[in-house]
Amino acid sequence: MAEPDRADPDPEQAWDGPRQPWLLNGDCRGPRHRSLLLEITTRAVFPTVLVFSVYLLLVGHYGPGGGFSAGLVAGLAFVLRHIAGGGGDLGSGRAVRPPTVIGAGMAVGVVSALLPLAFGLRVLESAKLGAALPVLGAVEVQTSLFLEVGVYLLIVGVVLELLRSLGSGIERDLEESGERARQ
């Protein structure tokens, strides 16, 4: 009997590889496939895009944005890293297994749907929470934000899972076609 699908193999292997300050640690790639410009740009843009995605997440209740689009934007940041650094680079993606991110997102979503019950409200009902914070001043939060956080995590997890499962295949195809072109 064959083995069934086990939980993924150890994800830590590629994660603690050597790190360089500015270049992505795509040490599995041949120099032929690396683009200095793209890698450095990615290095600079990656955190910015992530921060922007969090902004979209927070602003989503009243403005354009929300958990879904924020998750996609964050996912695109990881896609960019994948394009620049190759499958070996998705360090920040591999520190946590993508299914765990998906599961955590779903758990957050379902729990936030049930949480209003604890306060005597109905399932999925939302309320406005206000607080005066030291630096930011008065802050208002709609509790549906928690559901949005769940959606955000779910989408990021799905994009990472796609990159992991399909991304390596795309890379292999590219390399093969590149080799054919050179021959």
């Binding site: 083995e3 069934p4 699908d5 299914p99 998906i102 399932v123 009902e125």
Partner: protein, 508 residues
């Protein structure tokens, strides 16, 4: 109560999330799956009692009132089917878990099986409970997406081909469904079923016919009614045993439930529905005749599955309170009996190493327990008294005979199809259980999960199957109260009043 009705959807989703996160702990996955489904079954029982006692239970999600917000509704029909479906889901999960333990050992976890199984259960619950056409679409998508994964795990070339048919046909029907919803919304300005029930009557007759037919085709594909059934005998036999049992038990019946709900609520009619009578005849006969021609046990069961969808269509076609209630009872019986037969087929296959009927024999001597487990659901499916199948069929026939000449003729076809079912099942009995015992066939491809070859069976696998047989027997034992209840359900469905008042308040 309005909280209880959301839990059959939310708990399996939470369970799916937990089983994904703790993918490395097989014990936790199994415990979560079984506990969640057991709790959902208990809640469904509570819902059924409450819905039968004091009218439909309604939850307005997020506190938004019905025509705008999404309502979850549990009336007698949906609570009954939810209860039966969850019991089947639970039994099949126990069977599947023990099959995996028998095949791969106790320590194997799965990142896909348990989460997808629970998501499918959540989708099925939502499909039964939703009172909103678009949410019904979402429920179907959740259910089908999970089923795509379950049917195409560990693929071989044949299975990819079978899976492709299944996925393509399902996507096609989803697309049609979405189009139909868009058209319904364009015509009426609402997708809330209770609200639609009022507004549909005001539409021109032609438009109503078009919308009705579109929804009929959509749910007809999912319920496998005859011109649209071709995908089913191709794909189900290619799924792993327990998965095939789950699909056979639930998916087509969810399609039929949606058809029953939408046709009774949105497109009420005063006389028997001729088109549906014709479809019922075609489904019954073509399914049963197809079954006679099969040599593959699972394909044979798939054709019988299709054939017996026709019985329910007959109930819908006659379109009076009694017949619609009979169709609901038949659906409940059909869910349990088909799942049981597919599980038994899995047990048989693990002894014989093949699904080909002409290569088996003599199991009655070597596995008498298995013979008993096969005979009871087989007689139930054929509708021999005093089984549940007989009770359900009697309800349908009684309704049909009193409804004019067309339905009476179709009632005759019901009896013919029952006899053909019996012939097909007797053929299985003779080939599989009688005759000289044959040695089990060797397993050509040990890696393949579907063509299992002989393998050990664990006692819980028998227990799960026997549990389903017990559910089916319980339906026949409690036939009196159940028939009375489904009769009330039928009256509710055609009256439409209680449902609308429960969802919209007294306003309409």
């Amino acid at each position: 109560m309005s909280t209880v009705i959301t839990l059959p959807v939310l708990l399996p989703m939470l369970g799916a999330a937990v089983t994904v996160v703790f993918a490395r702990s097989p014990v936790l996955q199994r415990v979560v799956g079984v506990v969640v489904l057991a709790v959902v079954a208990a809640l469904a029982g509570v819902l059924l009692v409450v819905a039968d006692g004091s009218g439909p239970v309604v939850a307005e999600l997020g506190g938004w009132a019905a025509p705008v917000g999404i309502a979850l509704v549990a009336d007698r029909l949906s609570a009954l089917l939810l209860l039966v479906s969850t019991l089947v889901t639970l039994a099949v999960l126990v069977y599947a878990i023990d099959q995996r333990i028998a095949d791969y050992g106790r320590g194997t976890a799965s990142t896909t099986f348990h989460p997808m199984y629970l998501m499918l259960s959540a989708g099925v619950s939502l499909a039964y409970l939703t009172g909103d056409l678009f949410t019904l679409f979402v429920a179907f998508e959740v259910m089908l997406t999970a089923s795509y994964v379950l049917i195409s795990r560990r693929t071989t070339a044949t299975r990819v081909r079978a899976g492709m048919t299944y996925v393509t046909v399902s996507l096609m029907s989803s697309l049609l469904f979405l189009t139909a919803i868009a058209m319904v919304y364009a015509a009426t300005g609402t997708v809330n079923l209770a609200d639609l029930a009022g507004r549909m009557d005001a539409l021109p007759a032609e438009l109503r016919t078009v919308l009705g037919l579109m929804l009929l085709v959509v749910f007809g594909i999912k319920a496998a009614i005859v011109p649209l059934h071709f995908w089913l005998p191709d794909s189900y036999p290619n799924a792993p045993g327990p998965v095939a049992a789950l699909f056979a038990g639930l998916l087509t019946k969810v399609g039929f439930y949606a058809m029953l709900r939408t046709q009774t609520l949105l497109f009420s009619r005063d006389e028997p529905w001729t088109l549906m009578l014709v479809l019922a005849v075609a489904t019954m006969l073509i399914g049963a005749l197809g079954a006679l021609a099969q040599n593959d046990l699972n394909r044979l069961l798939s054709f019988l599955l299709v054939s017996h969808i026709g019985f329910m269509l007959f109930g819908l076609a006659v379109f009076d309170a009694e017949s619609v209630g009979g169709a609901a009872l038949y659906a409940a019986h059909h869910i349990t009996v088909l799942a049981t037969l597919f599980l038994v087929s899995g047990l048989i296959t693990r002894r014989t190493g093949t699904v080909a009927l002409d290569q088996m024999g003599g199991l009655v001597g070597t596995a008498p327990g298995l013979a008993v487990l096969f005979v009871i659901p087989a007689l139930t499916l054929a509708g021999i008294p005093p089984t549940a199948g007989f009770v359900a069929k009697l309800a349908l026939l009684e309704a049909g005979v009193g409804a004019g000449s067309g339905p009476v003729a179709v009632a005759g076809v019901v009896i013919v199809a029952s006899l053909l079912t019996l012939v097909a099942l007797v053929r299985v009995w003779v080939r599989v259980f009688w005759g000289e015992p044959r040695p089990a066939l060797p397993d050509d491809d040990p890696d393949d999960e579907v063509v299992v070859g002989t393998a050990a069976t664990a006692a819980p696998m028998y227990a799960a199957t026997a549990g389903l047989v017990a559910v089916s027997l319980a339906i026949s034992v409690f036939a009196g109260p159940l028939t009375a209840m489904t009769d009330r359900a039928g009256v509710d469905l055609l009256d439409r009043g209680p449902y609308r008042v429960a969802v919209l308040g007294d306003a309409p």
